[in-house]
Subunit: 434 residues, 2 copies
Amino acid sequence: MKIRFYNARILTMLDGENILTGEVHTDGNSITYVGDATDKAGEDAKAAAFDREIDCGGNLLMPGFKNAHTHSGMTFLRSSADDLPLDEWLNTQVFPYEAKLTADDIYKLTRLAILEYLSGGTTAVMEMYLTPESIAKAANEMGFRMVQVGGVNNFSQSVELIEKYYNTLNGVSDLTSFAIGIHAEYTCSRELIGEIAALAAKYRAPVYAHISETAKEVEEFRGRYGMSPVAFLASEGLFDYGGAGYHLVHTDAEDIRILKERGIGVVTNPGSNTKLASGIAPISDYLEAGLTIAIGTDGPASNNCLDMFREMFLTTGLAKLRENSACAVPAFDVLTMATRGGAQIMGLPETDAIAPGKKADIILLDLMQPNMQPLQNIPRNIVYSGSKSNVLMTMVGGSILYERRENIDDSFHVGESASEIFRAAQEVRDRILG
Amino acid sequence: MKIRFYNARILTMLDGENILTGEVHTDGNSITYVGDATDKAGEDAKAAAFDREIDCGGNLLMPGFKNAHTHSGMTFLRSSADDLPLDEWLNTQVFPYEAKLTADDIYKLTRLAILEYLSGGTTAVMEMYLTPESIAKAANEMGFRMVQVGGVNNFSQSVELIEKYYNTLNGVSDLTSFAIGIHAEYTCSRELIGEIAALAAKYRAPVYAHISETAKEVEEFRGRYGMSPVAFLASEGLFDYGGAGYHLVHTDAEDIRILKERGIGVVTNPGSNTKLASGIAPISDYLEAGLTIAIGTDGPASNNCLDMFREMFLTTGLAKLRENSACAVPAFDVLTMATRGGAQIMGLPETDAIAPGKKADIILLDLMQPNMQPLQNIPRNIVYSGSKSNVLMTMVGGSILYERRENIDDSFHVGESASEIFRAAQEVRDRILG
C-alpha cells in the first residue's frame, strides 16, 4: 500500500519546532519520502502510483504519540470506583474483580483500549497486564504497535513465565514485542528481583518496573532495605542493560544521579498521580539531569482516560506548580517526551520521527478547529490547547487505523466494528461487576 | 422552533446522579417536556408538530457547561507567549499588544472563542474584557449566552463607564447582560473600590472581581492594608449584594468564613492557575464550608484552551494533590459546579437544569466513543475521561448552534462560517503580533 499525504504541514521532530510544508509518502510500513516534492526524489516518488492520495488541507502531520505506561485491560473498571483511597481502591475495587478475568476477557478489554489510543493519536503503547498472549493477539489483529512488559511479583507470573513470554512473544510480529519487567520493588522479594536481574543479564535486556510511585511505599521500602528503591534496584543489577521506571514520583538527588549514571529512563504518569493523589514527579530535575523521559497514561481505572493530550498538559502544568515557576518544562520538551522519549524508552527508535526509512507511525492533527486558532506556535498549541478532538487520522506501520468520521463504525479500520468491540467489553464488565 | 430529542439518556442535574431515559422537548427558548413520553403530558407534547426530531441514539442530554470566568478576546495571544514568568508575560507579551486592539478586533476575536465554547459544550460564559459593546454584539449575533462583567481598574474603564454599560447592556437581549465588576483588588485604589461599592448599592447588584490569585499579590496587599483582599473588599461593602471572586487561590479560614457569611461565590480557574504556577485553590475547604462554587477557564492566553472538560478534571485532580487524598472533591460535586454552580453565580438560574420551564441550554454528549466505554457511572465518566470530542450538539436558548460534523463549516450554525471567523481572527493576530 502506497499512500501520499500532500498539502500538509509537517512536524518531523528532527528539526526542533520547525514545521515544513509539503508531502509525506509511505510504502508498506515505512516512510519513503518527506519534502515539498519539487526535488528529484519527490518527482520520482510522485511518479510511482499511489494506492491513495490524501489532501491534508494544511493540517499537521507528526509522529504518533507513544504512551509508555498503561494497563489496557483495566477498561472494565473505568468509572467503577473513583474518589477512593488507594489501598481501599486496590483491595476492594480492583484485585477482587481482576481475579475473575479470563485471557479472553482481557483480549476484549484491550481491544476497547486500542480504539481509545487510536482516536487520541497514540500509535504505540508500553503495556503491563495479566495475560500477555491474549493481549498480543488483540494488538496484532488490530494492527496496533505494542511493547509488553512482564509484571512478575510475589503473587503472580514467575521468572520462568517471563522467560517463556520473552522467547515466544518476540520476533513473531513487526508490531508486538515483550520486555522483561517486574511489577514493583515493593511487591517483589529480594530473591525474585535477583532472579529477574539474572534473566536480564542472560539476554542483555533492559528491565521495566513501577518505582517510587507513592511516598508511603518509598518510606516503607527504606525501612526494610535502608536505601531508596532506585538505589536498591540498581545495586541488585536490575538495570545493568538499561530500562526504565514508571511513575518515579518520590525520588531524591542521589536517585537522579543513579538514573543518569545507569541510563535508566523515566516514564511519568501525571494523570494517574493526580487522580490517586500520589504526588508530583520532579520532571524539571529530570530534564536538567538529562534523563530520557517518556509519558504514559497508566491504566484506565486510575486516570481514567487514555489521552496523551491530557498527560502532556499535566506534565508541564504540574511541574510549573511544583517548581512555582511558569517557565518549568517548556512545551516542546513535553512534545519530545511524548514522541521521541517514548520511542527511545520503548525500544522503538524507528518510530520516533517523520523521515525516510522510519516506520510510518503518523498522525494528522486538525488545525482548523477553534482550539488551534489562530495559527501561531503550533507545537505549543498542541501541548497547551490540543485535544483528541484534533486527531483526524492515526496510521500505524503504514496502515490507516483511524480516520475521524461522523459514524463511529466508519472511523476505525481494525477488522471489527467499534460497536462490536464496545458490546464485547460491556459484556465482560457486566458479567464481572454485575 | 419546536424540537424533540428522543431515545436519550438524560442527566437533569435535579435528581443527583440519576439518569432518566426518554425525551426532551423544546419550544422557542424553553424546555417544555422531560420524561419518557408515555404519560399524558408526553402524549400531548408529541401531538404538537415538531420542526425537528433528533434521535439521540442513547446518548446523554445534560445542561450545558457554564464557563464562569474568561477573557474571550485574548484568543489572539494563544500560544504566543508561554512558559514565561507572570510579570514578564503580562508586561512584555500581553499589555503592549492589548493596547493595539480595536473594538472591532475584539469582536472578531470573541467570535473565535465562542466557536470554541460551543464545540466544547459550553452554553454560557462570564466574560471580562475591554470593549463590552462589541463583545455583546458578537454574542448576540451568534446566539450565544454571555454575562459580561466590568473590569474597571486604575488604568482603564471608569465608574461612569461601568454604570453606562450596566444601563445600556442590560434588558436589550435575552442572551446577554452586564454585571458590575472591578479588575482586582491590587489594580484598584481604595477610592475606586468604594465608588464601585456605592454603585453596587445603588442598583442592589452583585459585584465580581479577580481576588487572591497569586501569593505575591496577597502578601503585598496585606502589607498595604493589614488584611487579606477578601476581608478588605468585604469590609468596603463591595459584596453587600453578593457576587463572586475569580481564582481565590490564596485564602485562609477567616476568608472562607467571610465568603460564607456574605454569600460570595467562588469561581475556580485551575487550568490557568496551573499554567501560570499560581497555586492550587482550597476547593475541599470551600466545599466543606458550603460555598457556591463555579468553574472557569480564564482567558486563552493563560490556559490556553477554553475547555470545561480539562477544568473539571483539574478541579478534582488538583484538590486531590493538595489534600493528599484521592477522596477529595468527588466527581459529581465537580459536575454540579460546572453546571448549577456556574448558573447560580452568573445569575442564570433558569439555565441550571433540564426541566420544563427552564431555558433550553442543552448539550448532547456522545457515549459511543472509546473514552466513555463501557457504560458504568456516566457522571464520573464525564469528569474523569470526558473530552470535547464527546460533544455531539450544543443548544443555547432553544437554538442548535453546534452539531459535530466532518466539515467544520457544517458544524456551526452561528450566521457565519467557522472558516470565515478563523480568517478574521488570524488577520487581527497577524496585524498586531506581526
